[in-house]
Symmetry: C2
């Protein structure tokens, strides 16, 4: 008998019929002999609708109140799911983040889990019940205030609870069959991966693959929680995220490359005519950091000897573009740069694989494939298990396909049953 955590996202519980379907799957797992804890998101677009409502009321809603508002969504989905399970003859109890003992820091809207006191969950399991837990929410330790975890919060809740109760696996149900070698909407013959390491998954997530959020994978890696990413619409096995060999694995050398990720959500800022003296780059990135903007890739041109000036380009989330530009403009005379350029028509391609560590020539093969496809590379960044390049946004799909083929990732079969895409 196993102990499993299952997490269902908003699209899996969008309406009464979906909730009943999910309830059936849960009771099947329970009747097969497993102890089951379920983490659930708000139904469909509930959270977006509540945000809209708040903005009708106030342009800047206080974050404490916003969190109380948003947590209503999971309260609805979790109780309805418990009812649906009970209706199938299996006992179920739903728990808010607080009742489930999900303790967070006090950063409303983007709180971090600092502890899970899972005594009530354990008690429910001991009593033979399925425990349903509201994802995305917790409570502060001392003030007992409700917090939300921000994007990817429900996945993180599921992994945190799996770690706390020592679950055998954390199943993340989504609308795709697992983690693919590339987004199947762009590369129709992308292959589903049976297994991927935490490190590779982290790099995939950081590079734009949205099937799992970064923080959830970080939490799983730190606590060694195996994640099984699979579809709530089929019975297929999905992708195991784990550093351990999985059952049925043929012992063999790890493949070099696990996948090609892409990201269209970034923009590029170029600071033109920067005095090429020590400390200027640091000054620029301190300004951007001060605006609470995370930078991804950085390129500094070789300085033109005649002028003593250089250009610095960096990429950042396009959503933070305005904020960063405003912060830099305000400091233009202090830093002494000539001008700013903003470009949000870029795309980023990342090749990921723990195997590339020991295989030279990966970068060369990547650049060759892009050259053969007539795709211009604007920026490059490399790490031990990843190579990322920036291209024009409208060339990104071609770039992904070319690289996917060049590294032999294309599937022979037409196996990919896709309902959405890893890009969602």
């Amino acid at each position: 008998m196993g102990l499993i955590v299952q997490k269902y996202g908003g699209s899996s519980v969008a309406d009464a019929a979906s909730i009943k379907r999910v309830a059936k799957r849960i009771t099947e797992a329970k009747r097969a002999g497993d102890d089951v804890v379920v983490v659930v998101s708000a139904m469909g677009d509930t959270t977006d609708e509540l945000v809209d409502l708040a903005h009708q009321i106030s342009p800047m809603p206080p974050s404490r109140e916003m969190d109380i508002l948003l947590t209503a969504g999971e309260r609805i989905s979790m109780s309805l799911l418990a009812m649906a399970i009970a209706n199938l003859g299996v006992e179920a109890q739903s728990f808010t983040g607080q009742q489930a003992g999900v303790i967070t820091d006090e950063a409303h809207g983007r709180a971090r889990i600092i502890d899970v006191k899972a005594s009530r969950i354990r008690k429910a399991l001991d009593a033979g019940a399925v425990a349903i837990v509201a994802g995305f929410q917790g409570v502060t330790e001392h003030t007992n205030d409700v917090t939300t975890l921000g994007r990817g919060g429900s996945d993180t809740t599921a992994v945190a609870i799996a770690a706390a109760i020592g679950a055998n696996v954390c199943e993340i149900y989504t609308d795709v069959d697992g983690v693919f070698t590339a987004d199947p909407r762009i590369v129709p013959n992308a292959r589903k991966l049976d297994r991927i390491t935490y490190e590779e998954m982290l790099d995939m997530a950081a590079s734009g693959a949205k099937v799992l959020m970064l923080r959830c994978v970080e939490y799983a890696r730190r606590n060694n929680v195996p994640i099984h990413v699979r579809s709530s619409f089929s019975g297929h096995l999905g992708t195991m995220v784990t550093d351990d060999p999985i059952e049925g694995d043929v012992p063999m050398e790890q493949p070099i490359i696990s996948g090609v990720a892409h990201d269209r959500s970034e923009a590029k800022i170029t600071v033109v005519g920067v005095p090429d003296v020590p400390g200027t780059a640091a000054q620029i990135f301190e300004i951007v950091a001060g605006a609470e903007v995370n930078i991804d890739m950085i390129v500094q041109n070789v300085s033109a000897a005649a002028t003593g000036l250089t250009d610095i380009s960096f990429t950042l989330p396009a959503a933070d573009g305005q904020k960063a530009m405003a912060a830099l403009h305000a400091m233009q005379s202090t830093v002494g740069f000539a001008s700013l350029q903003y470009d949000d028509t870029i795309g980023k391609l990342s090749l990921i694989g723990a195997g590339m560590r020991s295989h030279p020539g990966v970068s060369a093969k990547l650049f060759g494939a892009l050259r053969d496809a007539s795709i211009n590379i604007e920026m490059i960044s490399t790490s031990e298990i990843r190579v990322s390049v920036v291209t024009r946004a409208d060339q990104l799909d071609d770039a992904v396909r070319a690289v996917h083929t060049a590294f032999g990732l294309d599937s022979d079969e037409d196996e990919a049953v896709v309902y959405g895409g890893t890009g969602r």
Copy 2:
């Protein structure tokens, strides 16, 4: 500087515009120097919509889960209201039933408040903030489970919090201007009462006046909390429910009659051919009580000497009619009655006034007025401050008008500004 509790119902916070209007009223009270605690219901039809959703999932949702589901409604309205107040420059903090310290027994769906530990509310007030509290909900003392209080729950929450913090007054905002001598939709020249005693208000509520629920008035009376029933749509003073004289009261003998209530929600069951032996009536009412049905009025006919049989009629909430009939049918042979009659086309008129205690002839005047209006009386019940009669449902409005006029309650002026009716 005073300390007031204001309670707003679902129709007062039905949408973003209404929430903003209520927020404005709250900030005005706060800026006038009062400390303000606000109790709020769920927006408009939210609760009904959640109930519908639950019944799409399960015909018999577990009551614990139902309570978690329903409390999402106040969570939404309270946080939005806090945002709206903050947007007007006044600090506001919202609190769930649990955070507000509303402790209840464990009767899910109809929990009773057993304590209010208002330390967080007091702390918010001390910090200069408006405290917004979710109505209708509480938490069990030992298991920390969420409960709902059932019908009239938000009014009861408001009175309980007013009692706990020692508020000067509990203002119940509604869609009518106060408590009237009769439902203004039936009696257009009904007068608004400036003041009514707890006892009279209890009898009004028990007799069908829906402006305040019975349990809320009981709680207020027990804790001597003055209630001010007033409209959220106007600035008019409403009706004070209190046993103390109110400011501006001219010392005078209390008027005999405070009002005429009516009720169309009851049905009548007649048990025909009951053996007229001791204990049979007790047996019948034990059966009905066993079905958890409350009985209102009872009439037993004089037994026909020839047969030794009698008829027993009683009234009950029409909503419980089927349940009571089924329970009685099941015991027909045991009790030995001949048959059952069910009649849900009855109406009940009640004349209420503490003054009638010391004024003989009130009943005679009531029966006379009904006779003059050609209205047949089917059942009669009297108490120290109330006389109730059952009539045909389609004669009830005429009966209310006739009695209202006969007791001199008609207003000279056309003052009643009515947005709904006391019957709601």
